[in-house]
Amino acid sequence: MTGIDGGEGGAIGGEPLLLGVRHHGPGSARAVRAALDAARPRVVLIEGPPEADALIPLAADADMRPPVALLAHAVDEPGRSAFWPLAEFSPEWVAMRWALEQEIPARFIDWPATHSLVWGRDAEAEGAGSSDGTEDADPIDVRVDPLAVLAETAGYDDPERWWEDVVEHRGGGTGDVFGPFLALEEAMGALRETYGHGGHDKDLVREAYMRLQVRAAQREFGAGVAVVCGAWHVPALRQKASVAADRALVKGLPKVKADMTWVPWTHRRLSRVSGYGAGIDSPGWYGHLFAAPDRPIERWMTKVAGLLRAEDRLVSSAHVIEAVRLAETLAAMRGRPLAGLSETTDAVRAVMCEGSDVPLSLVHDRLVVGDVLGEVPQGAPAVPLQRDLDRVQRRLRLKPEALERELELDLRKEIDAGRSRLLHRLRLLGVAWGEPVASRGSTGTFRETWRLRWEPELAVRVAEAGVWGTTVPAAATARAEADAVGAPSLADVTALAERCLLAELPDALPVVMQVLADRAALDTDVGHLAQALPALVRSLRYGDVRGTDTHALTEVAEGLAERIFVGLPPACAALDADAAEEIRRHVDAVHGAVGLLGDAAAAGGASVPATDGAERTPGGSLRARWHSVLRVLCGRESVPGVIRGRAVRLLLDDGELGQDEAARLMGLVLSPGTPPADAAAWIEGFVGGGAGGGMLLVHDERLLGLVDTWLTGVPADAFTDVLPLLRRTFSAYEAGVRRTLGELVRRGPGEGSGGRQAGGGAGLPGFAADLDAARADAVLPVVRLLLGLDDVPGHRGADDNDLAGVGR
């Protein structure tokens, strides 16, 4: 019984009018409005936390635009919170607006958030950090889904479709406005007889609380009481229970100080389960059903056509007509009263999308879910994020000041590390309070410098960021995850990963890493991959400094390196000078990154010369595989000279290639058969790039001799072509190196002791012609100590290589 049968205006019988609804059901919303219009109650009671009563008038505010959510949070612990999302088509919202329009009181009658917030803590022991801790607020859950049971009884495999057919699609306005509620109540009553409270003992308490509230309202307003609540609760509210019994049930509940406010919500988040529990997959479709005055299918198809046209797909009115026909015929064939979402989707796919799921996913994203963002008026109470920020600011003794100032942080100190984390997190959230600036003085990774300035509009930014969560870390995590999914390029995701590490958001890392791995897998441009790798490896180092777990990061970085190894050789073919120069930079960056990565994976792997990349050597084989890639590069004629030269140089530096072999390769390139421009590029790659290259020539006169011989053999007309390249190569050297080289050339290469010389250039003024072995040996222990090579037995060749490496 719904309490009234006639529905005379204002004259409601003794019983309250119970309107059982499906949360976020447009059909329910329409039916609720019709029932309220017919019954004209004097007070509307709505399922929801009573602390929000004071916030109800804001719903009529001109700036209030659903979807919005009621947010309850514990005052001392903003992370403990619950949301009650309301869309335009939510029956609760409709009831609230109806009451405001009629200027009659509306009240929330569920148990107070004061209790539900703290009870949520008992349910999930570890839930302190979760942003929406109340999955318990609604009876509809996996254990007993009353709709699923009803739908199954009716022969439907999908409860959503059953609900659509039986409730959402019943035409509003005709016939008995209370009939559907009556039928639903009976069905729910039968269900609850079978299933009891469905494993939710909290429901008993909540329903006792609701009964008490309904009774209080009845005392105050007499018969004119209407209740809008989840259909599941209707039989319990109808039930006659003694006031004393109900009082006993709600007595002595645990409490926490709770605060409520409105926050903007999005359609996308309506699909999340919280507060009212029932998440919905197609808020956009429901919104359309609710908003469309008539012919919903025709209007929907027109919308879809509009969207596809905006995306430059050819969709004519004929398509719309055919899609509507197909949807309706499909519905008839499936024995449904009206075409639903699945029929319209099938029709759109077959008629407008040529059977393809790609444009269809666009329709799903933009229309079926929809990008609607709610708005909340200025007058709404502050969001908990702001409170959390205040608390953290107090704890870290970091006051917001309008005056710009610089802040030096030493990350080894607890409080400074906390400040750094906070500033990084706020930056992720778009609250640009602090800007990192380059540290003066020290370049250590434990030092950070920030420029702080609190602008008034940052408060607005904080309020906006409130949609992401109730505490700074939770909000930053959610924001980082969303950013990762939406990031346009691979490098953006890598940068984001770096920022997540800096901001210490380990919870966001798995998502970011997954996105990163996916992007890397699909990116066909080796350049992008090579750009991403160094930042990732740098992140690994930060992770080490800050003691976060970087295992996942290492895995992704290694995967990235593998892809670069495979893709690099083909990417080096057919390049012009600029592109070759760019790849050379990538090769350098990857080389450095692989070196660091190799250290992380397994030390010592580099000293094992790899004969074949196919060998499944464990761990440190990453370096070995990189070396084999370099070997491929330096031996391939189609690879530009600058890259080949660089590859030889890197192999030489790593001790993978003997000096003799390097000299042989150089001789090959500098032989008369090679075009001079190509040879000059090779030299640029081999000895270019700063002091290291010059030192190599200083130390190995044979190489210098080769260059010298080649240069004198370059024909006059080709010389002007190679000159700019050579000038670029040699002008980058430090003055000392240039002078030494000049001395060597003037003296004439090949003089002195000949062949290979380790040590200072013979014949330099003030130096003996030969190495003083005794004095050199005396330095070795110190060098070894500096390089951390204590455990490595003294080995002449290795030391030479390392010396060359130091100079790089």
């Binding site: 015929t329 791995a517 897998a521 995967g559």
Partner: protein
């Protein structure tokens, strides 16, 4: 003015269904169709032998109230069949798209058999299909003797379907030259076929419709004009949903082919078949079987049909040159050939797949080595 076209005269010595190497769908499943027609009490569109609901049941299989079991003709999403049948009921033409080996022709034949009771009104599309195959031709002896007349006209299957309100089929629509394809536009939009030589036209009778199949991987051959395309409702037939289903299809077909080629039976090969199917599926879907790692997809189709040929090839190799057991080395070369269609881009895709996925996988070492050997 419209004309009626008489059915083609039955030629003497025509093969009876029982003797046929491959009987038509309506003959092979005559019993099921009859049982469905007897039980079917739902409304039927004009000239349909069954209601749309019964047609869907015929394709998807089921048990009738009287206990008759209808065997499933198409194993796949119910949605696809429902959309296809509904399309035919709305007098829109149906275009079945899919990569080779997704049962397009099979579905179209059974749809025609169930809807019209006749699956033989068929135009096979080739690069040489002339306009006459879609419109009409002339019997030149008659034409020369008596001048243009209805008797001298040789109707195409499409023309006959229009005149009799039947379902016509066009196979491999995209292989037909574009100008010939476009003759379908008038037929599908105006539902008439003018015969200017006689000043007459053939108007389609209610119940006429057309099912076309096309391979969506050779779009480049003769892409449909947008005018023609928008006269079709398109249904894409998907590849097998799960590894198990695909392994089942591959091993069954391989077994059949192997028997006709007199290859020795190799029951131990099932693991290798699973591996081939896994590789094909992973590269096709662009994600590993555990759904955790994304990978690039090569340019080739990697259809089930190709997996079957890779395994058959491997079996022949194992039988004639190996020890009779299907091993990784026997399928590696075949897989490489199927995957690497474009030597530059696909090779990178394949090597990435080898290094990032295959190398790390437990128990795949032999396969990795074999693939490295042939890829080198």
């Amino acid at each position: 003015m419209s004309v009626t076209v008489e059915p083609m005269p039955v030629e003497t010595g025509e093969t009876t269904p029982a003797q046929a190497l491959r009987p038509h769908a309506e003959d092979a499943f005559a019993g099921e169709l009859a049982a469905l027609a007897a039980q079917d009490d739902r409304p039927r569109p004009a000239r349909w032998k069954l209601s749309p609901w019964a047609v869907a049941t015929y394709l998807l299989g089921g048990t009738l109230p009287d206990g008759t079991v209808i065997s499933p003709k198409y194993v796949g999403p119910r949605r696809i069949v429902e959309v296809a049948v509904t399309t035919l009921a709305t007098d829109r033409a149906l275009l079945l798209l899919g990569v080779p080996g997704t049962a397009k022709t099979w579905v179209s034949e059974h749809l025609a058999a169930a809807v019209s009771g006749d699956s033989t009104l068929l135009v096979q599309g080739t690069a040489g299909t002339p306009e006459e195959a879609i419109r009409y031709g002339w019997n030149y002896a008659q034409l020369l003797a008596n001048g243009p007349s209805r008797d001298a006209l040789v109707p195409s299957p499409v023309m006959r379907a229009m005149a009799e309100g039947m379902t016509a089929r066009v196979e491999e629509l995209t292989r037909i030259p574009a100008d010939v394809q476009d003759t379908l536009i008038t037929i599908l939009s105006e539902k008439t076929l003018p015969i200017p030589e006689l000043g007459q036209e053939v108007q389609a009778v209610r119940g006429f419709n057309l099912i076309a199949t096309a391979n969506d991987r050779d779009r480049g051959v003769n892409d449909l004009s947008s005018a023609l395309r928008r006269r079709f409702n398109t249904v894409v037939l998907p590849l097998p949903e799960s590894v198990e289903a695909e392994v089942d299809i591959v091993s069954r077909r391989v077994d059949q082919i192997g028997r006709s080629l007199d290859l020795p039976a190799v029951p131990e090969g099932i693991d290798e078949i699973r591996r081939v199917v896994t590789v094909f599926r992973e590269l096709r879907d662009g994600v590993t079987a555990d759904g955790r790692t994304k990978i690039k997809s090569p340019s080739g189709t990697l259809s089930t049909a190709e997996a079957i040929s890779v395994v058959t090839n491997g079996l022949a190799l194992a039988a004639h040159f190996g020890d009779g057991v299907l091993r990784a080395g026997d399928v590696a070369a075949g897989i490489l050939g199927a995957v690497v269609r474009d030597p530059a881009a696909d090779r990178v895709v394949w090597q990435e797949y080898l290094e990032a996925v295959v190398r790390e996988r437990d128990g795949w070492t032999d396969f990795y080595r074999a693939c490295r050997e042939v890829s080198a």
